[in-house]
Symmetry: C2
Subunit: 267 residues, 2 copies
């Protein structure tokens, strides 16, 4: 470990890291913060992603394996005081590890190709927790990639990174695609594009999901706008058997993505 | 609307409502708070549940239908200042409607009978958002009831009520059951009791879900303890096809409950 403990919350290094909590600065620096042992572990598995790792003395003891791994990979590790960590971490109970990471997203043309069998697209999804959970679920369901349209939340948002539980580092993620362009690319790559929306005529049980499929998920409150529905091949709803009005976005996405995964594997 | 606007945050009525944000007082008064138009609407559909409705002048205009419905049912409606509403509401952007409701839960023996086909049981679930989302999903999947064991979060917690999106008022909910007793009742009622756990030998695709089934969901971080797994008929995991370590509790529950709903309907 080089250098002494960083204790000054106003030091330039803390400020340089802290500014990454704002999207404008993330986009400018092309870097973001990954917090906690799980995210840091997954980030370290990739080459040239972690730029610097901040750790408290306590976390250094508890997560010695991660610190060693970082040092082995030539990543500078900086011990920081609890006060500095509180400044960098965005959770109420910071776990003492924050990594500055380089952007990891992939161009649409690389993430979506004719080899893709299952893709999740987030259009107008605004809640970072939901978006991160969908990334995690898409990863679990074996999706090939996740596409965030230009009107969706930033996947590098701290809450989104946390909710993804490392999945942001697992599968190709596309950012800021205009919807029409993304849908066209999905179709050109041979995927059937299905909008998941409560207004769908067909239910999940009525459609054949055995072929390559891209699911489009919309806004938490108002779903998908007409102009996006019109671009897709079909609009499909998760059947509601009880009295609930609808499902939460992330749970609806889980039901759709796993229905696809199952149908493709049974095909 | 009787009386004038309530503006004093220290008034006994505001204090009597405010104390319901704490579990100990809820249990003492056998009442809880339901916030926002969706929860209030669903609560008003039941008889003798809403004891009193607080509304801001603004919400009164926007949700005139709900106010009328409350008055028609003989529910006292009290206009409150924004300051009083902020004191009662537990969200950052309160929507101007808070109802004091009587407890709505059901004894285990009424909620779980031989007529039940699908039951969700929450054992050691601690996050109120997750618990509420599971209630909402269970409702959507057509479950007959939801059982909260004694080591789980209080379903009357404000965050849980909100995340349930009204489902707390839709289906029978059992509270504070000792696990062994609940599992016994489920078995005696003819349900196969399946623990959803990443340690399961069988995956969701390997088990026959066409019969009456109860799903047991565990803690967000550490799943289900050995002694609970031992009580169940089988331990089943949601298959992970990608690199994700696990699924979020609420999304795993959604995949399991919908797999059951589908299998029962196709049987």
């Amino acid at each position: 470990m080089a250098g002494s403990e960083l204790t000054n919350v106003k030091s330039p290094r803390v400020k340089a890291a802290r500014r990454l909590t704002k999207r404008a600065f993330r986009d400018q620096d092309r870097k973001f913060l990954a917090e906690g042992p799980q995210a840091v572990r997954e980030a370290l598995r990739l080459d040239d992603v972690v730029v610097e790792l901040f750790t408290t003395a306590e976390a250094e003891l508890r997560h010695g394996d991660l610190i060693s791994e970082a040092l082995l990979k030539g990543v500078p590790v900086q011990r920081a005081s609890g006060e500095v960590m509180a400044e960098l971490a965005q959770t109420v109970t910071p776990q003492g590890l924050v990594a500055i990471c380089r952007f990891v997203h992939t161009p649409l043309e690389e993430a979506v190709t004719s080899r893709a069998r299952l893709v999740a697209m987030l259009a107008h999804v605004r809640d970072p927790g939901n978006a991160g959970t969908v990334m995690r679920t898409a990863d679990a369901a074996g999706a090939d990639s996740v596409v965030f349209t230009d009107a969706s939340v930033d996947p590098y948002n701290g809450k989104c990174v946390r909710a993804s539980a490392g999945s942001l580092f697992h599968l190709p993620v596309v950012i800021g695609s205009p919807v029409a362009q993304a849908v066209q690319r999905l179709k050109d790559s041979g995927l059937r594009v299905l909008a998941a929306d409560g207004a769908g005529k067909h239910t999940l049980d009525d459609v054949d999901l055995s072929g390559p499929t891209a699911w489009v998920f919309g806004n938490e409150a108002w779903g998908l706008p007409e102009e996006i529905l019109a671009l897709t091949d079909d609009v499909v709803r998760v059947p509601i058997y009880g009295q609930a009005e609808s499902l939460n976005l992330a749970t609806a996405a889980a039901v759709c993505l796993y229905a696809s995964a199952r149908a493709q594997r049974n095909a």
